[in-house]
Amino acid sequence: MRHRRTRTGQSIRFLRSPLPFVGVATALAIGTGVAAYGDWDVGAEEAQFTVHAAGIPRMKAPTVELPGGEPQITAEGIVAAGPRIAWDRVTIAPGTPVQRYVVTRHLGPIAQVACDVPATGARCVDESAPAGYLVTYTVAATYGTFWTGEPSPASEPTLLPGEAAPIVVDGVVVVPGADGSPLVPAPGVSTSAPGEVVVVPQAGAADGRGEPEPVVSTSTTPAPDQVQPPPVHKPPAPPEESASAPDAGKPSSGAPEGTDKNDGDMEKDTPIGSAIDAVIPG
């Protein structure tokens, strides 16, 4: 009993010692400290998100309509008030039309810009169409400085009124075939005898891609260089959208203002490399 009392007394004395309280307090402090400030880092992880760019859709083949009445042919062999080309408008995104349309005239393997018009219109007149030739047209939409859509399929071939004469387009001699199909003689061959020259067939342009078929020639004369592509026309930059209003600032028509003449629904062509260089007298 005494011994027991002694032990009890020792226990009491131990409990009265500050040591265990200090230890418990320290442990609790550490524990609560971890609980209070030991936030759990779940960061420094990476994940991928994807965002998608729009694309300019390929347009349908345009339609071509010849002017009514007696055809007027200029002294340069151009059809005055030439064929009217029409197309369906397209958008680059819902509610956002493209900005321009570029119509290309295909004379066999030769492709030239016939019209480059703002997207406010859906028709244009080819003011440089050579009389008497069989032509097709393609149309492509553009947006911004660099974005261009895939050219449409070619229109139905259209035989332009008037008598065809040999012409020079971008330095390439073109002579009329029997049915008005443009023929490109091999270099060094007289254009006065088109039936005897080796020609470049125009099939390559029929698909609307403007890629000519390789020159088929029995002559030892080297084939002419490929036809120069239409000159590059850079339209003005599209308007920037407002940062505060993500969808604000979209062009209502898709075309920058004040950069082009617009005569309403019918657009005149922009004379960019569309002119025939010369008509070779027969």
């Binding site: 998100f49 995104a93 947006y143 308007p239």
Partner: protein
């Protein structure tokens, strides 16, 4: 004793943070998400935090868009997001390089730190996107990959 238990849980949670994993959904889906999953804590919890990004389509020259982020916290712990960083890393088309002249990815816009309560979700800012007029033709219909890094902590209870 209860406090000790809490401290043990907290300690286990710190250890468990090393077991975090990121699970990604198919990036081609329109609604994308980043899932941060922690290893089970000592209390048996298995916290999962999800960062969702709203679909962004129809970027074109001059367009500005926002990759809006939503944080979902399915755990029983509050989540505190302390950082969010985004950068352009790849595109899907050759000739369309992941550079600022093709797509600008701005700094995260949102209030940080952002606290997301237990079993709660909230919109947590956005990453601004701007396609400049200098974007090249090859970037039409391209898919741009934006790498997002999130820094977050699980707030102690």
């Amino acid at each position: 004793m209860h406090r000790w238990h809490k401290s043990v849980v907290a300690a286990a949670a710190v250890v468990g943070a090393a077991g975090l994993a990121v699970a990604l959904r198919d990036p081609s889906t329109s609604d994308q998400q980043m899932t941060l999953t922690a290893a089970p804590g000592a209390d048996g919890s298995n916290p999962v935090f999800t960062v969702r990004g709203a679909a962004v389509e129809d970027l074109y020259p001059g367009a500005r868009r926002r990759l809006v982020l939503t944080l979902a916290n399915s755990s029983s712990h509050d989540l505190v997001v302390t950082g969010m960083h985004a950068r352009l890393t790849a595109t899907s088309k050759p000739g369309c390089e992941p550079v600022v002249s093709n797509l600008e990815v701005g700094p995260y816009t949102g209030s940080l730190p952002a606290r997301v309560g237990a079993r709660d979700s909230r919109e947590a800012g956005a990453v601004p996107l701007h396609m400049p007029n200098s974007v090249v033709d090859a970037c039409q219909e391209a898919t741009f990959t934006v790498l997002l890094t999130a820094d977050a902590t699980v707030a102690a209870r």
